[in-house]
Symmetry: C2
Subunit: 314 residues, 2 copies
C-alpha cells in the first residue's frame, strides 16, 4: 500500500506533516509506504531532526508550491512540478493508492476531478464532513460545497456514497439517510427536495428515514444527511463558526470541543476512483496522522470498489 502526501500544503508545512508521519509510524505495526512530494532539503532536515526511520518512506522532490490563494485550475496547469500536481501524477500513474494534502482546496478538487477517473456511473463526485451529534454520535453531511446546484439523481447518489462511507468507515451498520428539508412531511420543500424524496424512498441501496429539518442536524436523527452543496456549505461553515465563537468566548464544554474540525483529519472526495483526502489549511500533526489512517482504511476496505458496486448494481 502506497500513500502519497503533499508535504508543502497547509499553514505549517512541512513541519506538521512530518510530525504527523512520526505519530503514524509510532502507532502502526505494519505501516503503509509513504511517498512524500515537496522540497527535498527541508523534508530531509525535518526527518533527521525527528529521527524518522526511512524504510517506509520515499521523497519525490518537487520545486514548486501552489499557494493557498492561487487560482486552482491555472496553478495546476502552470505548476506541473508542484507538490500537488506531482502527487496527482503519482496517483494517476498507479504509483500511489491514495493522496493527501492540506494545501489549496480548489487545486485538490480540480486534481481529483480531472487527474483520476470518477467511479463508473457517478454523475458528480462530492465532498462531505462529519457532524458531531449532541448525544456523542457522529453523522455525515454531504455535499458541503463541491456541487452548489444539484439534480435529484445526484442527491440520490450522494445518499448511496454517504451510506457506504458511514457503514465501512464510521462503522454504522445500517446508516439512516435523511433528506435535509424545511419540513418533515413528504411533499415539503423546494423543487429539488420534492423531486429527490421519491428517488430516495425507492432506493433499495439505502435506509431512507425521510426528511430532516435544520433542528435535526445536530441531533442523532440521521447518520447520512443529504443536500446540495450550497446549503451543506452554509451548514458546515456555520458549525465551524460555533466552535470558533465558543472557543473565543471561553465557553468550555466537551460538546463544543467536538466541533473542532481539526480532529477529523480531512475530507475525502467521494465518487472518484481512488482516495483523495483534503485537509484544513490549519491541519496539525494529529490531523495529518488521522488523514493517513483514513487513507489506509479506505484502501484496506476497498471503499471505492464498494461504492461502485452499490452505484451500479440494481
Amino acid at each position: 500500500m502506497n500513500i502519497g502526501i503533499d508535504m508543502m500544503g497547509g499553514d505549517f508545512a512541512p513541519l506538521e506533516a512530518v510530525k504527523g508521519i512520526e505519530q503514524y509510524f509510532a502507532e502502526s505495526e505494519l505501516p503503509a509506504r509513504l511517498l512524500l512530494t515537496g522540497d527535498q532539503a527541508s523534508i530531509e532536515e525535518l526527518l533527521v531532526a525527528h529521527a524518522i526511520p526511512r524504510n517506509h518512506l520515499e521523497i519525490i522532490p518537487t520545486d514548486q508550491v501552489i499557494g493557498m490563494q492561487e487560482h486552482p485550475t491555472r496553478a495546476l496547469k502552470e505548476k506541473q512540478n508542484s507538490s500537488i500536481a506531482v502527487g496527482f501524477q503519482l496517483l494517476a500513474g498507479g504509483k500511489t493508492d491514495a493522496f493527501i494534502s492540506a494545501g489549496n482546496t480548489g487545486a485538490m478538487l480540480v486534481g481529483a476531478l480531472f487527474s483520476i477517473k470518477a467511479i463508473e456511473g457517478v454523475l458528480r463526485p462530492t465532498i462531505s464532513t462529519l457532524i458531531p451529534k449532541e448525544n456523542g454520535q457522529t453523522g455525515l453531511l454531504l455535499d458541503v460545497g463541491l456541487n452548489a446546484d444539484c439534480k435529484p439523481e445526484q442527491l440520490n447518489q450522494f445518499a448511496i456514497m454517504g451510506s457506504v462511507y458511514a457503514k465501512h468507515i464510521l462503522g454504522i451498520s445500517q446508516p439512516r439517510v435523511g433528506l435535509i428539508n424545511v419540513g418533515e412531511e413528504e411533499g415539503k420543500g423546494n423543487i429539488l427536495a420534492q423531486a429527490t424524496y421519491p428517488l430516495l424512498k425507492a432506493n433499495t441501496h439505502i435506509h431512507f428515514i425521510g426528511n430532516i429539518e435544520g433542528r435535526d442536524l445536530l441531533l442523532d436523527k440521521a447518520d447520512v444527511m443529504v443536500c446540495e452543496g450550497f446549503t451543506g456549505n452554509i451548514i458546515l461553515k456555520m458549525a465551524e463558526s460555533i466552535y470558533e465563537i465558543t472557543h473565543q468566548k471561553e465557553i468550555h464544554h466537551e460538546y463544543f470541543e467536538r466541533f473542532n474540525f481539526e480532529h477529523y483529519g480531512g475530507t475525502p472526495v467521494l465518487g472518484v476512483s481512488k482516495p483523495v483526502i483534503i485537509g484544513h489549511g490549519i491541519s496539525g500533526a494529529t490531523a495529518f496522522k488521522n488523514m493517513i489512517l483514513l487513507a489506509e482504511k479506505m484502501i484496506e476496505k476497498d471503499l471505492m470498489g464498494k461504492m461502485r458496486d452499490e452505484l451500479t448494481r440494481q
Copy 2:
C-alpha cells in the same frame, strides 16, 4: 390605533396572551386599542382575574379554533368563525391596523397572503428572523421559509424590505446587506446567488457589502442577510437547536441565552400591506407583549408605506 390579537393561538392560550396584555398596559402610557378574538367566557374570566382595565380593549367573540396541526388552507376556509379567520376579517375590513397570533403558522401565512393585499410591486412577501451576533448586535435573516424556491428579483426585494425593517425597527442607520453564499468573491455560488449578486450590486436602495458565508452569519458582518427560504429555514432551525442543546446540556452563557427566540416576540410577514406578526407556539407573556409593541412600532413608523416607497421608487 387598533391591534388585533388572536387569543386562542399558542400552547398556553389564552392565559399567556392575557398576561402579555397586562404587561403591555402596565408599561404603556398611551396604549393602542386591542381587539381580542377568541372564546369570550375564558377571556373575560382571565381579564377579571388579572384585573385588566377594559377601556382599551374589546372582545370579538369567536367559537372556533384552528389547531396547530391543521391544514392551513382547509382550516381557514372551513373555520370562518375561528379566532384567526375573524382576526384577518377585521384586518382586511380596516377594523384593525395589525394582527398578531401565536397560533397555526401556516394559517397565519395563508391569511396574510390572501386576506390582505401585498404591497404594490412586491413579487412575494417574506418572513424573517432576528439572529444574535456574537458581539451583541442583532442581524436580520430572510427569507426563512415562506419561499423555498426564489428568483433573483425576489431576493433583491427581500434585501430592500429587510433594509427598511432594519433601519426603522432595529434602528440601524445604514444596514449592511450581505448575500448568503458559499464564497466571498463575486461569481461564486449556485445559479441563483450568481444571478442575484449583480442585482444587489446595482440596487441603489440598499447598502450591499457583497457575499457572506456560513461562518459570517453569527458574526457582525452584515445586518441584513439575504437568501432563499430553503437555506434560511435550515439556518433558523439550526440556530434554534443550538439554544435547545445548550439549554439541555446546562451550558449557561449570555451569548446562547440570546438564541432563545422567544425573546424576540414574533416574526412579521414583510411585503403585505398591513403588519401581521406570527409568534412561536411556545410564546409566553413577554413574547406577547413584545409582539404588541412591535405591531405598534410598525404602525407608528408607517413601515409598510416606507417599504412601498423604496420598492416602487427608482
